[in-house]
């Protein structure tokens, strides 16, 4: 800002060799005289409307030669209060004429508004323009002056200069602001760049054409490809050894432009070991079209291994808990199998006595001897060995032995398939069979407390599933159901509860429900039951891991849902929904 401007104050310079012209200007433009003159003029020419003419007061300086005028202009500039308008006479002997004066003035103050005053011109307008090289900021006033014309020129040009000055100032401010903003932006950009390269996550930016645009330090390190190499290349052609290229192509193809997607993808590192990446893909929208994608993520190989270990540990723990119950479950049939075998062995021993008697009887008959005495012996033996009892009981004993052996076999087989470590990949699983196995191995946990009713859909399709982990979820839900019922059923309420397990098939989903007639889950803990280590069970009965792990298995590993409905003292239903279609990032 060059000076404190009052927009109502104009600075005028009059350059004319004729003193009377100066007087005329003063008369028209000086404050007091001007008021009178204007009032006259207004009344004469413009009527009432002219009352609204802006009243500007002027500082008027006089110069009688071009040279002198230039000095004043320079001085004014130096004082930082330049003139707004100069009235320049065309002929001013002996010095510079008007055009030369104007040239000189503009050399120093290009924005100065100039009015050329002339009675007759030595130059045509075209010649003046040609000499000065410009036609802005220049007006011609023909002598003799019209007072109003002079007044209006002074007002208009002063105003013009002021506005121009303001505009220039604004422009200057704006430019400064822009520069400031640009600088801030650059700093921010730099900061963001630093941040992006500092983060331990992978960050890959790919534009709409599939070209790599961003490749941070972690990515460089992970893939052993420098940013210089990667940026500008198509992502699909980078030297990365994907285990499955289709997965990679799926990764960079966006299905829903509004949603981020999670992927798990494997690649071989430089030692040819498989590593697992957990990536989130975000579509980047620019204006109207999709501007590409941003891939964020990290190597989750170690994490996955730890998860597997935790799951395995929890599974072993549950198998450990089951072991005592299973021993009991096996010992019971073994008890009556061995008891019955003992009976059958003894029974056969006694039958042999009878057979011996019979052999003797047959031998005697063959010798045509009268077996009268022998018949008596046989009759006695029959009584001694309790033949009638044997006939009645041996078939029953066999039935029991067969049943017992079947039960033990069933338990052992169920245990075997229950605790099968399972594969790393999903397999097509008959959930009904898996459920029945789990019911068998967990029998000891529920049979005193509840009966289990199964209502399994016959048309249930095979479901892509990690069998071992599904079994674990079922076990947790069944044991929880039994515990919930156990809190209601005790010595005083000897009626057993009921656990109902249902499966059914609905479109591309399969639903498994485990319903109990237990205490229900209090409202206050609804939000916490899937939290790790949250438990309401007494020490030793639960670790608070069961539902948390079940949730992780169903939701994260299978892309399914685990929900529940509960009613106080009525019971709870846990619902597992599993997708039949394998979802992205997981394979069957």
């Amino acid at each position: 800002m060059d000076q404190d401007h009052s927009s109502q104050k104009g600075r005028l310079l009059i350059i004319d060799d004729n003193r009377s012209i100066h007087d005329d200007f003063h008369k028209i433009l000086d404050q007091r005289d001007a008021d009178v003159a204007l009032a006259e003029a207004e009344t004469a020419f413009l009527g009432e409307a002219a009352l609204f003419t802006p009243r500007i007061t002027y500082d008027i300086d006089d110069a009688f030669q071009g040279q002198e005028g230039l000095e004043l202009v320079v001085k004014a500039l130096h004082e930082r209060r330049p003139y707004d308008v100069a009235f320049v006479d065309m002929r001013m002997p002996p010095g510079w004429d008007g055009v030369e004066t104007i040239e000189r003035l503009w050399e120093r103050d290009a924005a100065l508004q100039i009015v050329i005053c002339t009675a007759y011109s030595d130059y045509t307008w075209a010649e003046i323009i040609e000499r000065l090289g410009r036609n802005d900021n220049l007006l011609i006033l023909k002598k003799p002056f019209d007072n109003v014309e002079v007044s209006q020129l002074a007002v208009a040009l002063t105003e013009k200069r002021h506005l121009a000055r303001q505009a220039a100032m604004k422009m200057e401010q704006l430019e400064a602001l822009v520069e400031l903003r640009t600088q801030t932006l650059q700093e921010t950009n730099l900061e963001v760049e630093c941040l992006l390269s500092a983060i331990s996550s992978l960050l890959i930016g790919i534009d709409g054409e599939g070209m790599v645009r961003r490749w941070n330090a972690s990515t460089e390190e992970l893939f052993d490809i420098s940013a210089d190499t990667a940026i500008g290349q198509p992502f699909g052609r980078l030297d990365i050894d994907w285990v499955n290229r289709d997965d990679m192509l799926k990764l960079i193809s966006i299905e829903n432009e509004h949603q981020s997607e999670r992927h798990e993808i494997e690649y071989y590192d430089r030692h040819h070991a498989i590593r697992l990446l957990g990536l989130s893909v975000y579509p980047v929208k620019k204006a109207q079209q999709i501007g590409g994608i941003l891939i964020l993520g990290r190597d989750i190989t170690e994490q996955r291994l730890l998860e597997l270990k935790v799951h395995q540990t929890q599974k072993l723990e549950s198998i450990g808990q089951l072991a005592a119950g299973l021993a009991h479950e096996i010992n019971t049939p073994i008890q009556f199998v061995s008891g019955n075998l003992d009976f059958l062995q003894q029974g056969f021993g006694r039958l042999e006595q009878l057979l011996d008697d019979h052999d003797r009887l047959v031998d005697a008959l063959l010798l045509n001897q009268c077996p009268e005495a022998l018949l008596k012996v046989v009759a006695t033996t029959k009584e001694v060995i309790k033949l009638d009892f044997l006939k009645k009981e041996v078939p029953k004993a066999f039935t029991e032995v067969i049943d017992g052996v079947r039960r033990v076999t069933e338990i052992v087989q169920a245990m075997k398939s229950f605790s099968h470590p399972g594969s790393q990949k999903k397999t097509a699983v008959d959930l009904n069979k898996a459920i029945l196995n789990t019911v068998t191995v967990s029998r000891h946990e529920w049979q005193r407390i509840a009966d289990i009713k199964t209502d399994l859909a016959l048309d249930l399709p095979l479901v892509p599933c990690f069998l071992g982990e599904f079994n674990q979820v079922m076990l947790n839900l069944i044991v929880n159901a039994a515990h919930a019922i156990g809190d209601v059923v005790d010595t005083h309420h000897p009626n057993k509860g009921m656990i109902t397990i249902r499966t059914h098939h609905d479109g591309s989903w399969v639903r498994v429900e485990v319903e109990d007639t237990g205490v229900g889950i209090p409202d206050s803990i609804h939000r916490r039951i899937f939290d790790p280590f949250f438990t309401t069970k007494e020490v030793g009965k639960g670790t608070g891991q069961g539902l948390s792990i079940a949730h992780n298995i169903i939701v994260n590993k299978h892309g399914g849902n685990l929900t529940f409905e509960t009613q106080k003292n009525q019971g709870t239903i846990f619902k597992i929904d599993l997708p039949l279609q394998d979802i992205k990032g997981m394979r069957v």
């Binding site: 005592a324 021993a327 009991h328 479950e329 096996i330 010992n331 019971t332 049939p333 073994i334 008890q335 009556f336 199998v337 061995s338 008891g339 019955n340 003992d342 009976f343 003894q346 029974g347 309790k386 009892f389 044997l390 009981e393 029953k396 004993a397 029991e400 049943d403 017992g404 000891h444 049979q447 005193r448 407390i449 010595t491 000897p494 057993k496």
Partner: protein
Amino acid sequence: MTHTVLLVDDEPYILSSLQRGFEFRNETFETLSASSAREALVILEAKDIDLVITDQDMPGMSGTELLAEIHKKYPDTVRYMLTGQGTLDVAIQAINSGAISRFFTKPCIIADLAMSIRQSLEHKALTAAAKQLLQTVKKQSTELERLERQHPGITDVKTDHEGFITAEHDETSLEELLQELRRKSQGAER
């Protein structure tokens, strides 16, 4: 006198195989069975049971709870536990609250079980007989004391210098006294 043994287990084949084994071995005791603790208590209410063998894990009341109840109500009934859950916890509970005399784990050999039962029943019979005898002796001595009070010197047998018993006469005739004694002793036997 036949002894009665009550078997308690929620697994019907355990009951049937044990009963079959005992009967085939011509064991002298009779067996009854119950499939729950509740049912066992109902039977105990109705019949004299000499010995109870119970499972531990059963719906409703557990084996140890049943034994504790029996220990309280029928202290003379011998108590066994036969369980597939051979853990220390169960054993401690059975001993402390049920005061059991034998703890068997499944699978057990029927012959061993039968022998233990026989021994326990003999022991119980002997104990009962000894108790009975002790009571008889007590009663008789009470009677004698009473007689001595009524007929001082009657329990004291006097002999003369040649060894003959001397009987002194009092108001009651000897005949009357003998009748009274006979009546008393018959009453005691009944």
